[in-house]
């Protein structure tokens, strides 16, 4: 009501500045607004009478109610007030013309816009709050009357309360779970970070050791070579001993010490070339090569060592060898018995 009266006053002031058409338009619109907000029919007729020549079709629209629902009416009223406002803005723009450059205007524009936005949001929020208050007041009043509708309202509000408390409870639970999840994620991240650090350290160390590693590797190889050498020597001596035992047809079964020694002679991996060929497949090419060469060397050395004695060296598998000697010995024993 106050808004329309204000606009009314404004329009009377601006009457002189406008063209006749536009001002009559204004007149009509403000009449419409006035009609809506206050029910003074006499005033309306008077107004309609004065602006008749221009608005014949529109006036009919104004006095005749086309739409039925109040919501539509309110909506149309909003539309009209919006359009009035736009036109008032146009008029104001005409009135307040000042010359300034475009760049100046561009600079000032965002400030004005943000100010406008701020005020609009404030207004909107306040309207919302007001509506909420009004609604609650109305509901409160209704509940006080205690009739059937109030009972229905009470039931609904109780249900709402129940649902709200349920919602709160669920929200608390979900918040707790979310916190737990966040906690676990934090821990996991921490673990990851620590792992990364450790890996980085390891890489650093493995890289750093490189100059020393050469020396270590050389030392290791030397040691391994030594080991191989001694191993071969051991094997060679074992072979020699075995050869001696066989050739001299020593009775190793009865003497416990000799028997132990003879039994342990079985445990070395190679004796000759054929055995090297049958060596286990996981041995590398090098290993087999080594064994072959070692076997060759051993047999050669055996031959050398035994050249002095007139013994024969058996070039068969150790197991077979032992079986043969045992059988031989048994036969000799039985022969003697």
């Amino acid at each position: 009501m106050s808004y329309s009266s204000l606009c009314w006053i404004k329009s009377t002031f601006l009457w002189c500045d406008l063209s006749l058409q536009e001002s009559s338009l204004f007149f009509f619109l403000f009449c419409f607004l006035v009609m809506e907000s206050s029910d003074s029919q006499g005033k309306l007729n008077h107004m309609v009478g004065t602006v008749e020549p221009n608005d014949v079709p529109a006036a009919e629209g104004a006095t005749g109610q086309k739409d039925t629902s109040p919501v539509d009416m309110l909506r149309i009223k909003q539309q009209m007030s919006n359009q009035c406002f736009e036109m008032a803005v146009q008029l104001n723009a005409e009135k307040n013309k000042r010359s300034c450059s475009t760049s100046e205007a561009e600079r000032d524009l965002p400030e004005y816009i943000s100010e406008l936005e701020r005020v609009k949001t404030l207004h909107f929020n306040s309207t919302l709050t007001l509506h909420r208050m009004q609604m609650w007041h109305a509901i409160g009043e209704k509940l006080n009357w205690s009739d059937s509708e109030a009972d229905a309202l009470k039931a609904i509000s109780d249900r709402c309360m129940g649902l709200c408390s349920h919602i709160k409870h669920l929200q608390q639970e979900s918040k707790k779970l979310q916190d737990e999840i966040t906690e676990i994620q934090k821990n996991r991240l921490e673990m990851k970070r620590v792992t990364h650090e450790k890996i980085k350290h390891m890489e650093e160390f493995s890289k750093k050791e490189y100059p020393d590693m050469e020396k270590y590797k050389a030392a290791l190889e030397k040691g391994q070579a030594n080991l191989e050498k001694y191993k071969k020597m051991a094997i060679m001596t074992q072979n020699v001993l075995r050869g001696i035992l066989l050739a001299c047809k020593v009775n190793w079964l009865d003497d416990p010490k000799l028997r132990d020694i003879a039994m342990t002679l079985e445990e070395f991996p190679i004796s000759d070339k054929s055995n090297a060929a049958r060596s286990p497949p996981e041995g590398a090419e090098e290993a087999s090569q080594q064994m072959k060469s070692a076997a060759q060397r051993v047999t050669e050395e055996e031959k050398e060592q035994h050249r002095g004695r007139t013994t024969r060296v058996y070039k068969v598998q150790p197991a077979l060898l032992w079986i043969i000697t045992y059988l031989d010995f048994c036969s000799s024993l039985s022969g003697t018995k």
Binding site: G61, R75, I76, E86, Q90
Partner: protein, 184 residues
Amino acid sequence: MSLLKPFSKLPGLNTANILLVESEEQFQQSLADALVEETSVTVNVRLAKSLPLPMENDESRPRIDLVVFIINLTSELSFQSAEASLKYLDPGYFLGKVCFMVTNARNASSPAERLDAVRKLASSLHCPLLFAEDQTPDGVASATERLLTILKVAAGLVPIATALYVSNLTRCTLPLDIDLPSFD
């Protein structure tokens, strides 16, 4: 005077009037059909090839709330005709009641300079620039939706926003690699 004026006629109750200006007159049709299907408001669509509009219709024409210039980027004539028509619009329209709609922007045969020229035009006039795809019904539907949102504001049907206020939010800016504001 052949200028189209924004406030020289009475606005209709619960109606919105839109004028589609296109020199080729093909996208207009499908857009118009889609626009008219809006149920909450009565949308009157008027079609034109270019401005100025013929004087004979001046009396029966309702107040135009939104003028949309449809420019096909593959033809130079379309752009030039739109530019020429701008002269016949009252400056009051450029405070939020004019919109530019561009079709075939993705077409390989449309030169990039034309799009830049359209952008410059739209940003100098502080008008929104919409891109539309006119070949598929989906494209027409989405273009209609966006036009309707702007139209509703221009016709005063949205309680809080006026066309002038919204034009500050939707105006085309010359991109220093920024996207155009899309009005949703």
